[in-house]
Amino acid sequence: MFAETVRQAMQAIARNAMRSFLTILGVIIGVAAVITMVTIGNGSSQQIEADVSKLGTNLLIIRRGAGMGPPSAGRSAPSFTIKDVEAIKEQIGGVLAVAPANTSSVTMIFGNENHETSITGTDNEFLVARDWNIALGREFFDNEVSGGKTVCILGATVREELFGAGDPVDETLRSEKFSCRVVGVLEAKGASSFGQDQDDTVLMPIKAFMRRIAGDQDVASIYVAVQPGFSTDKAKSDIEALLRERRRVDPGEEDNFSVMDTKEISSMLTSVTGVMTGLLSAVAGVSLLVGGIGIMNIMLVSVTERTREIGIRLAIGATEGQVLMQFLVEAIVLSLFGGLIGIALGLALGYVGSNFMKVPFVPDWTITFIAFVFSAFIGIVFGYFPARRAARLDPIEALRHE
């Protein structure tokens, strides 16, 4: 009997294929939107975790200002100096590498090619801290670092943009403020979260950076890699104590700098993505509700339109329950169709979107299942009222209806 009801519902839906499709469009869009959002959100979170773990699990990043707020928040706090870097190197136990890092943007020119990229002033320990290898050429020589020579190491993207497949080593790049000789090329690391290309970078000795680009002796941030087997938490609190002393932060006063480990960075970034995903999914959820109301509307129209049919069915022996069931099942089948199409569309859009945003495609089967169940639920809720109206029709009146 139930299978029969479903079969009849399918027939009724197929008889009005176009209208049925328009009816469920709201549910399709709602479900697709939720699934797309969740899929891309999941992919972004996973990408962030992967990126951050690429930084290394034993990495600490020290920046001025409290927390990881907008740069302006740290502007009032004093910068670090090369001496701070050396103090950490000498006084903190268990550190593997300590590197200053100042970053700016710059347009590099070679021949007819030019390319806008970011340039970081640092030293060889940056490569250790970031676990980044040289693919071609060499690291900086010590005298290049201490003397602030204008030499540079290119990220894979910069090399590709300016030299194509050619060998850049010993070539000289120009920019507005300086020119530098290429000594090496970094291994490709790939894109990071939010589509940021980590290989789109140029490294140069920090002293050269200070003299040619920044024009001061400030160090913006410090990368510290902790030796395997040593506690990052211990290193972190040691560094905090040291820097408070060096920066003369009074006891009881807040740090005017922050030391973050990769776990914190990761959880902070993923929580941002989580909030975004949640908000967008909520909007999508509202469209699901609207879709449900659309189904109710059309089912009500359908009941009025099919009044005579209902009268015939009642006259030839359908019970009230059977008519109720017929219309309810029709609404449920409709919204389930909507749900299924929405799921397929959502997964497809999620796949395209993930590729576009260069994040992994991570479908969430729980949400998919919930979306499916929820669309059935919408059919029941919004189908019940029209179905009850159909079932309660007076057969004589219904038969007279034209």
Binding site: Q8, R15, G311, A315, I316, G317, A318, T319, I396
Partner: protein
């Protein structure tokens, strides 16, 4: 259909039906008594507004009397709720309407299967029964046609097949020939009287055409909500002998 002669299939006593209330009340039936026994073929006649359609609706358990009693095979239908009345229609009654009332865009055989679905009969048995019934009314060659592909006479045959497929005790026909030309009307009436003669199906038919009423064995005249004349038709018209259900 041999329910025995003792208990009438249908028994109406002092049945009234009043629509509306107070000053505006319309008394469609003003107290009728009517017994119909198994195997009868009754034509109900009368001018419009005479109460014949109201009586038909009450007999068909689509409507309930305002006062008086309606017993179907001895059971008091007046006590029935909506569900019980639906079940009464499903198990014991078959309806044929003036306007055929087939489901559009639904094949003849699917239309005939409909009451069997509601009875809960399995798919294979249902289909076989529907096909057999359509053959019985001479439409074995039109099984898969939609109502729009059938002539009026054919549509009414499908409707009759749908009404009798579930083997009801009583066939209720409301102006079954009202939308048909004379030749088609005669075919339909011959089919109905055949079913009455050969299978003992009890038939109650509302009509305003005396020619059609001639097929019935008993004619009841309604006037102003009362039964005016209730008499046997001594010489009911018989189906032409050569008419058969082959084709």
């Amino acid at each position: 259909m041999s329910e025995g002669d003792a208990t009438p299939v249908i028994s109406l006593r002092s049945v009234t039906r009043v629509y509306g209330e107070g000053e505006a009340a319309v008394r469609a039936l003003r107290g009728i008594d009517l017994d119909i026994r198994a195997g009868e073929f009754v034509a109900i006649m009368g001018p419009s507004g005479s109460g014949k359609s109201t009586a038909m609706n009450i007999i068909g358990s689509l409507d309930t009397p305002s006062e008086g009693s309606y017993r179907f095979l001895g059971a008091d239908v007046g006590d029935f709720d909506r569900l019980q009345r639906a079940l009464l229609r499903r198990e014991y009654l078959g309806f044929v309407f003036q306007g055929f009332n087939l489901l559009a865009r639904t094949s003849a055989v699917d239309n005939v299967e409909l009451p069997l679905i509601y009875k809960g009969i399995g798919r294979a048995e249902r289909r076989e029964k529907a096909i057999r019934t359509l053959q019985r009314v001479g439409l074995g060659h039109r099984l898969d046609k939609d109502p729009s592909q059938l002539s009026g006479g054919e549509q009414q045959r499908v409707a009759i097949a749908r009404a009798i497929a579930s083997e009801p005790a009583v066939l209720l026909a409301d102006e079954p020939t009202g939308n048909l030309d004379t030749a088609r009307s005669i075919e339909i009436m011959e089919l109905i009287s055949q079913l009455n003669d050969e299978e003992g199906l009890t038939v109650i038919m509302v009509t305003h055409e005396p020619d059609m009423a001639e097929y019935a064995k008993r004619i009841v005249h309604f006037k102003d909500g009362l039964i005016e004349v209730d008499g046997l038709n001594g010489t009911p018209r018989k189906p032409a002998l050569e008419h058969a259900d082959v084709r």
